[in-house]
Amino acid sequence: MIGRDVFRQVVVGAAVLALFLVVPLFGLGEYWIYILTIGFYYAILASSWSLLVGYVGRISFAHMAMSGLGAYTSVVASGRFDLPLVLSIPLAGLVTGIVGLAIGRLCLRLHGAYLALTTIAFSEIVRITITAEHEVTRGSLGLAAVGLFETTERTPYYYSFLALLITCLLIMWLVLRSRIGLFFVAIREDEDAAASLGVKVVRWKIFAFTFSSVIAGIAGSFYAHFVQLVTPSMMSIQEMGFVLSMAVVGGFQNIFYAALGGIFLEILLETLREIGEWRMTLFAVVVILILRFAPNGLFGELLRMVLKRRART
């Protein structure tokens, strides 16, 4: 039964992937290629956030701070110290991994909401520090970044972000399919029971937080070298709210659904741009409606309905 479910998910996943692979070949405008590329960035963030929240049951509000930290690390390393991007991007992952490990060691020994509270404080400290600092980060003016490619065309970025998204999803899926994924779920279900059965609860919580931080950092560095500008606003609580909504709307108990949530909400936000600031209100209404009628996420519900209909016919 489980095997058949996995097979169906793989088939649906392959179809979605095929769609994204061919879409630019059918005359999609540069603007929408740009939007989808940003959507892939949010998809990486939403899925890696859902790995921590949906599987381990720990809420972090530092995901955008990690993404921003990765972005600034790579931009400063490449712009100021002339490090090639093939080194500055992994360096971004390393730095966010070390920071994630430090925060995890500090607050993941404790039960309850300590991680959530600490990460809100951490996010704001990082954002305000970077805004206040001028010599290295140029404060709220932001830093110009070199592009991933020399061309100004969007398509190479589109495919490189799609490749990054697939790679991140694949690595996360392999981890979640292994015994580590089972330990994550056991911790989410009952920390004390997991510990009494030999699961090293603190170690795996720290691992999950560090792992998701590394992915956010690398995504952030890619983003910086795509938009070629990095500012402290990418670490705002509002941005974190977007990522959180994307994961919740897509379905945060499944990394693939959360990723689709990222792409879907980015498209929705752009579609609503014509109505100005009202779009945020409408966006919130859409999120509330989806939470009301599909509390486990839009895509899980859709897939369930499609498979149910197919089984009936």
Binding site: V185, D192, S196, G198
Partner: protein, 245 residues
Amino acid sequence: MTAQLVTEGIVKRFGGLTALDQVSFEIETGELVGLIGPNGSGKTTFLNVLSGFYRPEQGSVWFEGRSIVGREPSALAAEGIARSFQVTKIFRRISVLENLLVPGLTDWSAAPRETAEKGHAILDGLELGHLVREPAASLSGGQAKLLEFGRIMMLEPKLVLLDEPFGGVHPKLKRLMHDTLRDWNARGTSIILISHDMGSIFDLCRRIVALQNGRVIANGPPEVVRSDPAVLQAYLGTRSARVAS
């Protein structure tokens, strides 16, 4: 026989409340000891100290000759101390078999396929074999208690700590649980059993330790503890104890 687990002068306080007050206890390898006492007497707190969930303010705990105070619960599980919980703590949103794979796979040398086969065999023995792929949330209260037994069996522990395993369990399942406990015990596993079900305690245990207000008030064979005035007083009150004696 040698003492497998020894505690000396355990004191555990919660603010102004002394939950355990100079508790000294020992269990031999292969013993099945009942731990009784009125509500709030410190039984579960004692189990939490033995399994690493609480660190005592005073006293020492020795398991197979080594001090285990301050060790993590997961480390103690790996050393061979397994436990169940008063309120059943199964992993509700994963399957019955996956519940057993969690403890089975904490040993990194264990291969997933062999671990799953072991899990199937254990679940068959506990009459849960037909439910392996079902979500654990679909189990009845008694089946959930049996599932906790199954998870403990995956660890192949040396010492098992059971906290009210028979609470709300159907008599048929209770018989199966009794048989399982006797089987573990016959294989040399030591068991500390907390229960308010005196029928099960007197049926299964060869020694009973009684606690009241965090202190050991009786320790001996069931027939002795059963008529101990302090135990009668703890359960029935002073006047009834006088009548009983």
